[in-house]
């Protein structure tokens, strides 16, 4: 399931929603109930569906959030964009020390029922790097590629 969520994250965020054909899909009762139970204060909810999962886009506390569910109502995870200043301080200092000459092109928090963390994509003139943190203290390299 962890692998599925990682695939979801990459397909829907890093690859810009290519998987979704329709917006405002109807969801089954199990998914809807699971969502309402988890996010009692959610507003402006809309749903999208693929063969593998449902995606809810909504506002929580003024922030836009995406939550992913299986058709059985199991929550796969949540993602939402954050600012670099919202990162835990150890992750901010690590970026400044180790990637001083890079700029940020993508940054979001992901949460699964069993863990949470951050994905960040940074680049300089030569390469693009995606880093992942699951402990809130340090980054590990998720992918690295040279610019063409």
């Amino acid at each position: 399931m962890k692998k599925l969520f990682t695939a979801v994250v990459l397909s829907s965020v890093l690859l810009v929603n290519a998987a979704f054909a329709n917006k405002n899909e109807n969801v089954n009762t199990r998914v809807e109930n699971a969502f309402k139970q988890e996010f009692t204060q959610a507003k402006e909810v809309s749903w999208q569906k693929t063969d593998a999962y449902y995606k809810a886009t909504f506002k929580l506390n003024g922030e836009t959030v995406n939550a992913y569910y299986t058709a059985e109502g199991e929550m796969l995870g949540i993602i939402h964009n954050v600012l670099s200043t919202q990162l835990p301080i150890n992750l901010q200092t690590s970026l400044k020390k180790e990637y001083e000459n890079y700029w940020i092109t993508e940054l979001f928090e992901f949460s699964r029922p069993d863990s949470n963390g951050y994905f960040i994509t940074i680049q300089n003139a030569d390469q693009v790097i995606t880093l992942q943190s699951t402990n809130g203290s340090s980054w590990s390299t998720y992918s690295k590629s040279k610019k063409q």
Binding site: E38, N61, V65, H80, P88, E109, S115, G117
Partner: protein, 149 residues
């Protein structure tokens, strides 16, 4: 031992009754170097000791916000605390607060970063109760201290 002392120091920071043992005590060069290594852009640094066992606290400005960092007298970096807003919390914690503490409002939030992990201390208040909660990023909440009125 020093990590236990640090935890107690953190607890007192969260409860706003922080006691220093020797006001404005300046640490040795090794501790100052450790601060510079971890936070090269720290400004307006003030030092105090937070225990008799040689844990130093640096209060400073970093990225235009106040921050506290803790070091041993040997220059070992123990962790940081900073005050953040509810909106800076991981989304599952926000969701858990709204489900489990709907009748409370969030008064203060502290992020506590150690070298090996991260936790949040959240003071919540209702008309007749106030408490400090401890939270982890996946939305687990536990009561850290009850009845802090």
């Amino acid at each position: 031992m020093k990590k236990i002392v640090l935890s107690l120091a953190i607890a007192t920071v969260m409860l706003s009754s922080f006691t220093t043992y020797a006001a404005d005590k300046t640490p040795g060069a090794v501790v100052k170097q450790a601060l510079t290594r971890e936070f090269s852009q720290a400004k307006d640094v003030e030092w105090t000791t937070v225990s008799k066992d040689g844990v130093y606290q640096a209060k400073f400005t970093y990225n235009n916000e106040p921050l506290q960092a803790f070091f041993t007298e040997d220059g070992e970096f123990l962790g940081t605390t900073r005050q953040i807003t509810k909106n800076q919390l991981p989304i599952l914690i926000v969701s858990a607060l709204e489900k489990q503490y709907a009748d409370f409002r969030v008064a203060t939030v502290f992020e506590y970063s150690k070298t090996d992990g991260l936790a949040y201390y959240i003071t919540v208040i209702s008309p007749d109760n106030a408490m400090v909660l401890k939270a982890t990023g996946n939305g687990d909440l536990s009561v850290f201290k009850k009845n802090i009125h």
